[in-house]
């Protein structure tokens, strides 16, 4: 690993060195390093399109790192990774993509991740996106979630400054008593663009989903949040899009909740606006300059 690799890995996966346990590090479309363990098997797909990650039933308190780094320009990489989470297991999966593009051509990565959670399993999935360098950086992640009975998925995504263009698609289907929590945090600056789409189907009785998107748009960047929460039975769904606008930025929120059963309970909330004046004033009374107060509010809002 060179210096750039280390910076990118630290940004997206808090990794300072090769992690212990199961991992797969992909660099410029090739495997840089891979390790399976007794409980977590990482197997390349026969067609070369990605990897299968198989987590044995009853695996507890283990983590898997699968970061992707791109350090060249004029490059487009698509990878399909499938995660099979065994019954009663409880694992943390750290993914993410960091691009350093030193060229004037664009670099693109599209990670298509599908998760199949068996009954009573729990996954915490953390995905960070980061970009640096002169060239255009494009990230288009697709996350497909299939939650069996009584399974629980927590998904935390963070895309901070540096990604020029992004279309993020998250699709989920939940069976009986399954639970999904998504926290999406986005920051765009300059003329960056992000579109984020959620399609959540609450198909099983007593399934529930809580989707919270916090976004900050600076300069002349733009964001569009589109959600479609579908309740097919007795279920509870909540979608929240909370946005802070600075400078000449734009945020558009398109909510759609579809209650297809009289027992569905679906809620959508959206609030977009400037930084609250009273928050700025309060922090300034504590001695922070207006600029530092703004920074503190945004940092808390996105990473609190």
């Amino acid at each position: 690993m060179d210096k750039i690799d280390k910076i990118l890995l630290q940004q997206i996966a808090d990794l300072h060195k090769i992690p212990s346990g199961a991992f797969n590090i992909r660099k410029n479309g090739q495997v840089l390093s891979r390790n399976s363990t007794k409980e977590i098997e990482i197997i390349p797909k026969k067609d070369g399109s990605g990897i299968n990650i198989k987590i044995a039933p009853n695996t507890k308190n283990k983590s898997v790192h699968i970061p992707v780094i791109v350090t060249i320009g004029n490059f487009s990489d698509t990878v399909c990774n499938d995660f099979y989470i065994g019954e009663n297991s409880d694992v943390t999966i750290i993914a993410g993509c960091g691009i350093d593009n030193p060229t004037c051509n664009s670099s693109q990565h599209s990670g298509i991740h599908s998760f199949y959670l068996k009954p009573n399993s729990h996954v915490r999935y953390v995905e960070k996106h980061y970009g640096q360098g002169e060239g255009k950086k494009i990230l288009n992640p697709v996350t497909n979630l299939f939650l069996d009975e009584n399974s629980f998925m927590e998904m935390e995504t963070l895309q901070i400054e540096g990604v020029d263009s992004s279309i993020r698609n998250t699709n989920a289907k939940l069976k009986q008593n399954a639970k999904l929590i998504v926290k999406e945090n986005l920051l765009t600056a300059k003329d960056q663009k992000v579109k984020t789409n959620f399609k959540i189907t609450l198909a099983g009785k007593n399934s529930s989903a809580d989707i919270v998107s916090h976004s900050v748009a600076k300069d002349s960047s733009s964001q569009k949040f589109v959600s479609n929460m579908i309740g097919k039975t007795e279920c509870f769904g909540h979608v929240e899009c909370d946005g802070i606008l600075l400078d000449d930025a734009k945020i558009i929120s398109v909510p759609r909740i579809s209650a297809l059963s009289k027992d569905s309970s679906l809620v959508h909330e959206a609030a977009i606006g400037k930084i609250a004046g009273d928050e700025l004033i309060k922090l300034m009374t504590l001695g922070l300059s207006e600029e530092d107060a703004e920074k503190t509010i945004i940092e808390g809002f996105l990473m609190g």
Binding site: T285, L286, G287, G300, F301, G304
Partner: protein, 238 residues
């Protein structure tokens, strides 16, 4: 010493100028405790906010230790030594109580440091340092943390705008001893008799003007005779 000279402030409503404060002259001596009282709408909150730099003066000057701070920003005044607790605590999305105490006290506090500030308001740091300063806390808890933040600042002048408002049962009893324990100049906006009794001097505001300044023995009887109409308050900003 904090000195206010010829301070006036007005707002415009429907194109009409409404004077909130008229020619206020006050001197706050070092290490003394002042309570500003008066009917609703008399301009008490506006006055203390203007000392902190929140809002703009129509005319007048504010001096802190002979330094003219009239044109200082809010944060510059904070750094000069003015600390302010709001009547209605401000909540944040994603900022923890511990972080706010670190900012206020200008240091990275350990649990025991935070404990020093939070225990003054009857809260245990271990339970609150990692809580978010948001609506998950009760109104009483938010208010106590607001007070703790103001108290944790290294300041020359501590200002509390209606500290008893929204406070829960714990606090009321202990507020008096909390304020008595402050060694620096303290300015409290309050209607409460127990707090008024603590004052070295009481400043009675009415209709945007200083009606009277004096010791409790002078002002308290006056307050009891203050007409019901006045106590209900005139229209205007407070």
């Amino acid at each position: 010493m904090l000195k206010i000279e010829n301070l006036s402030c007005s707002v415009f409503e429907n194109g009409r100028e409404i004077e909130i404060l008229k020619d206020i002259n006050l001197t706050f001596q070092d290490k003394k405790l002042y309570v500003i009282t008066g009917p609703n709408g008399s301009g008490k909150s506006t006055l203390v906010k203007l000392i902190m730099g929140i809002g703009s003066l129509k005319q007048g000057k504010i001096f802190l230790d002979d330094k003219d701070i009239s044109n200082y920003s809010i944060d510059s005044r904070a750094r000069e030594g003015i600390s302010f607790a709001f009547q209605k605590p401000v909540t944040f999305k994603g900022i923890k109580v511990g972080k706010l105490l670190d900012i206020a006290s200008e240091k990275n506090n350990t649990i025991s440091n935070s404990c020093e500030y939070l225990s003054k308001v009857g809260l245990c740091a271990r339970n609150y340092k990692d809580r978010y300063m948001d609506e998950s806390l009760s109104g009483g808890e938010l208010k106590r943390i607001e007070l703790a933040m103001a108290l944790s600042r290294p300041a020359k002048v501590y200002i509390f705008d209606e500290p008893e408002a929204g406070i829960d049962l714990w606090s009321f009893d202990k507020l008096s001893s909390l304020f008595s324990g402050i060694k620096e100049t303290t300015i409290i906006v309050s209607h409460q008799k127990e707090i008024l009794k603590l004052a070295d001097e009481i400043i009675l505001l009415s209709n945007g003007k200083v009606e009277k300044v004096g010791k409790g023995s002078e002002i308290l009887p006056l307050l009891e005779n203050f007409s019901c109409k006045k106590l209900r308050g005139e229209n205007g900003q407070d």
